[in-house]
Amino acid sequence: MKPEVKKPIFSSYINNPALFDEVFNNDGAAKNVYQKLLDLYGNHSIQDYVQLNNKAKSSFFNQGITFQVYDNKETQEKIFPFDLFPRIIDEDEWEIIERGAIQRSRALNLFLWDIYHDKKIIKDGIVPLDLISSSANYLHQMIGVDPPGGIYNHISGTDIIKHSDGNYYVLEDNIRCPSGVSYVICNRTALKRALFGVFNHYKTHSVTNYAENLLDILESVKPKGVDVPNCVVITPGMYNSAFYEHSYLAKAMGVELVEGRDLFVENDFVYMKTIRGPIKVDVIYRRVDDQYIDPLEFRADSSLGVPGLFAAYIKGNVCLANAPGTGVADDKAIYTYMPKIIKYYLDETPILNNVHTYHCSRPNELKYVLEHIHELVVKPVDEAGGYGISIGNRLSKAEIKVVQEEIKQNPRKYIAQPIMSLSVHPTYIDDSESFEQRHVDLRTFTLLGNKKEFVLKGGLSRVALKKGNLIVNSSQGGGSKDTWVLKK
């Protein structure tokens, strides 16, 4: 019998020179920081790797780190695709990302305070009034409200890409209920279980300290007069796709995971219903959207919220993290003003680049967009999860026409950006049983509290698993990678 030929792991890797590969140079040589890792992975054949990959998958499955898919009335559980080849970010690059992420979070917080109070930035003509007043996410109920500790965006998820010029660009800020941090931690756990040896050769920052920092941040924004605050996480419930993350965070912080029906409001204070009667709640990390938090104030048909919660919040008796109404600032139209917003409030130049953006609400820019759709990415300003995005060079002539019409119908709803070429990273592809280049982005997690701030050293590197695809959201078939930030 002929012995099975064991192919080395990167033997069939094709390096397309038109793309920015984070691991290999154009001449095929590995970048310094990856050399050791490639040597270590090189010890494995592709068959070994397949086995490790399957083990990692079943580890996710048994831990119940899954999401539900509905198919022919049957519910199926699927794991989030995870790639065992990690992404490395060296200490110098990370320093820029970290400083940049904090800078943006601070600026956004000051911006939110301003637009819900004096609106100086509008009076000074930096940001146009109609951009705010026309935003569905601007909550008039928040005008004049002082959130405890002066913080609006306690938790920010910043989506960053590396462009083909080798620089980092921010694609968007997520400051409503950004999710994904639990996968950062799970990815690390899974990689450690499967390939523990590789960690001996790199000094990688830990990611498990996120929860303790989150709890510190939440406690730092306790309402006035509270000594030791009682913090909880509120979830829409176990059928929510991010429920695993909610339960993970509650468990890791050691606080209760509540649903709306577990809370009630009496005399503008919030209580949870426990086996020993009511217990007052001071800080709520809410993973329920603005519109659902309080049926008395927002959507009356919401059964996920707590009647009277918003009144308690306005009275300053409870802190909500993130504050209601933050969505106005992670609007993709506001995004384009970020360099100006940073300059205005902090008097600093932006550390992270913004992608140049055309506003379809401005007549001359609208004209440019309509004429250049084939080389632009058109995005609706208020959708999350990668929905409604059209990428110009993939559209047929007929499809371009449709997009043009949609934009003309409602110009305020759309922005356009040049097609950015996301960097690629070698990613194991099940179907071909080999490594191939795939586009990758990075979501960082920044915490902002009362005189405290924290950036998780690591982040969620999301991979677009479909060949050539630029959209990395998990709802659009994206996978993820463990992301190492190296220590100095």
């Binding site: 176990m238 509650a250 468990k251």
Partner: protein, 315 residues
């Protein structure tokens, strides 16, 4: 702890325990009947009827012919029947899901594996050749779960609530199994000249609750109705006995209610009262009116459960 979550944990404990007893009942009855000493106990219909009796669907009409594959499927893997093992396991996991932040990662992972084992089990394999494999796996996995509950959870309120669920369910299931086997013993009376008191069914009963070996060590005699009832109901050292379960319930309610003299409307008071009643009973009293006894104690257990619900789970 949240009242809603406490309720879920209580039921998680109950469903885990219930799935085990149903699985073991199928296993022991089926396999011990294969070489039972009399014709009736050997008959497939007799065994299938007994299985239906246990899950609370007794047959009114003995002339109905039950099909083995149907009955096994219904009790084991029919997701549309509330009493099936697959549903018990589903409910157990669903309850665990909603309390996922409170239970240990290790316990959750075991429940999750348990769930996936059951829902992936082939129906055809189970009804044709997998009865032994399936039921033994269920009992072993529930044993692992009990180990994880005991060994990976802080012994605080969360633990107490789960243990209350487990022990109330155990007492209930043991009584139900006694009831089912007593019913079988009555039916088997006379065939092969058996008296109820010496029926083969008592041995099966003891095996159904994994107490046969313990019983032999304790009495060193073939089980009779009196010794079996005494052992399974009144012996506090038998970990499957009703009084042992009630003692456990008493111990765990004390974690939730620390008052020395509980209020007369409290769960703790009711549990003490029930406990007192069975501490000073003897087996002959029970045997006099076994049906009456069974009804009474099942009712007491239901009352305890309802009281817990009122006191701790609703607000």
């Amino acid at each position: 702890m949240l009242a809603r979550v406490a309720n879920n944990l209580f039921w998680m404990g109950r469903y885990i325990e219930r799935s085990e007893h149903v699985a073991r009942y199928l296993n022991v009855n089926y396999f011990s009947s294969l070489d039972a000493p009399n014709e009736l106990s050997q008959s497939r219909q007799f065994v299938l009827q007994s299985m239906m009796f246990l899950v609370g669907e007794p047959l009114d009409d003995d002339s109905i012919i039950l099909k083995e594959e149907d009955i096994l499927f219904n009790i084991g893997l029919n997701a549309n029947l509330p009493y099936s093992i697959i549903n018990n396991v589903k409910y157990a996991r669903e309850n665990a899901n909603s309390a996922r932040d409170l239970i240990s990662t290790e316990l959750y992972e075991s429940i999750n594996k348990f769930y996936h084992f059951v829902i992936r089990y082939s129906i055809e394999d189970f009804t044709k050749k997998g009865l032994y494999d399936f039921t033994v796996n269920i009992t072993e996995m529930t044993a692992i779960l009990r180990g994880k509950i005991r060994g990976t959870l802080l012994h605080d309120e969360v633990y107490a609530i789960i243990m209350l669920g487990i022990n109330l369910e155990r007492a209930t299931q043991v009584i139900r199994i006694i009831n089912a086997k007593y019913n079988d013993a009555v039916k088997a009376k006379g065939s092969y000249g058996d008296k109820i008191s010496n029926s083969f069914e008592w041995t099966t009963l003891l095996k159904c609750v994994e107490s046969y070996d313990m019983m032999r060590r304790y009495y060193k005699k073939t089980p009779t109705s009196i010794s079996t009832l005494e052992f399974l109901i009144l012996n506090p050292d038998c970990p499957r006995s009703v009084i042992n379960s009630i003692n456990q319930v008493y111990k765990h309610i004390k974690v939730l209610d620390e008052s020395k003299t509980p209020d007369k409307n409290s769960t703790a008071f009711l549990i003490s009262k029930v406990k007192g009643e069975y501490e000073f009973k003897f087996a002959e009293e029970i045997e006099e009116d076994i049906q009456g006894f069974i009804e009474k104690i099942l009712n007491s257990l239901v009352q305890i459960s309802l009281k817990m619900e009122n006191e701790f789970f609703t607000y």
